[in-house]
């Protein structure tokens, strides 16, 4: 009897028409589900892109502007060439700062005009030599030592002379400049000043 049951059940088969119907219905159902799925994914994508754009507008632009300000406004350094003409140094480019000799009587030292529009304070430190401030109104030169804080637009002078010792001249130095606003650092740069055999000093922005 077992075999008759098995043989009988074996005759019960899903015919080709039923199989075809099932396959078509499953395909249609899948297509329907996919068409429902894709618009939802599309909507999610659009919302995600919109959120991203809004985030960029809210956070990105001020950040970029801030960075831009920091990069562009951090330092505009005006150097004085030996012939008295002035030029601006682009912080991103190595550039001769100008030439200076101790024997020049027109200036007390190597003049640098440091401009940083966004900064309320600029701190300078030098490895060798010293900073000087000079006012043409009273013709007094004030020695500032190796560290100095100035405001944007002020002109500062570097001298290779070291204090009262006039016998030795610093042959080179590195000046570090840091710009601050509300005690927060906006940016920094470095100037390297070097001399040749005849003690003619040239400088270049290194950062």
């Amino acid at each position: 009897m077992n075999n008759q049951y098995i043989n009988g059940m074996n005759e019960i088969k899903a015919d080709d028409e039923l199989k075809k119907t099932i396959i078509n219905r499953v395909k249609q159902n899948n297509a329907k589900r996919l068409s429902q799925y894709f618009p939802r994914r599309k909507v999610i994508s659009v919302v995600a892109v919109a959120c991203l754009v809004i985030s960029v507008i809210i956070f990105g632009i001020p950040f970029v502007q801030n960075r831009s300000n920091r990069a562009e406004n951090a330092f505009i350094i005006t150097a004085y060439a030996a012939d008295g003409t002035t030029f601006k140094l682009n912080p991103a480019v190595d550039f001769l700062l100008g030439k200076y000799q101790v024997t020049m009587s027109s200036v007390p030292g190597f003049p640098l005009k440091v401009l940083c529009v966004a900064a309320d304070a600029i701190k300078l430190t030098v490895t060798d030599g010293e900073f000087l401030l000079w006012s043409s109104s009273d013709w007094k030169v004030r020695n500032q030592g190796k560290e100095l804080q100035i405001e944007s637009g002020e002109t500062v002078y570097w001298t290779p002379l070291q204090g009262s010792n006039t016998d030795t001249l610093a042959r080179n130095c590195t000046i570090s400049l840091k710009a601050y606003k509300n005690n927060q650092e906006l940016g920094s740069t470095t100037i390297k000043i070097e001399s040749d055999d005849r003690f003619t000093y040239t400088g270049r922005l290194s950062k």
Binding site: M1, Y5, I6, N7, G8, K13, A14, L18, I23, R25
Partner: protein
Amino acid sequence: MGIESLCLDDNISELVQKYSDMVLRLALTYLKDISDAQDVCQIVFLKIFEQNKTFVDSDHEKAWIIRVTINASKDVLRSQWRKIFLPIEDVALPIIDKENREVVSFVLELPQKYRSVIYLHYFENYNTSEIAQLLNRNEATIRTQLKRARELLKTKIIGGFENE
């Protein structure tokens, strides 16, 4: 049409070819009506592809399809429509051989709890432990049901079903 779509189509055809006969037989065992069994067959495959389940092996896949078929068949049995419009006459089974048809008919006349056990044991070759898992019943219950089903068949069929 993308590769994924083509693969999916192949997968649909493969699964339908592989399991549609089993689903139809099991549904028929529950419903005793070939048209309802064909409807269940469609429902089961729609569910299979909607759920998009991954299986450990083909035995796992087969067992899951059996479960889906049993549930779908029970849903049809519970439907009010079927209760109202239950066919009065027995629908002829698509079995050509007379003796085979009679034996299958006798099995289908058994109470539903016995029919499914007989089908799974004698046709699908599941043991009592596996049937217990598939039907979510105790193994002892399955053994008893199998024994009772054989006894009932013995009264109708000369020789009855062999006890393995």
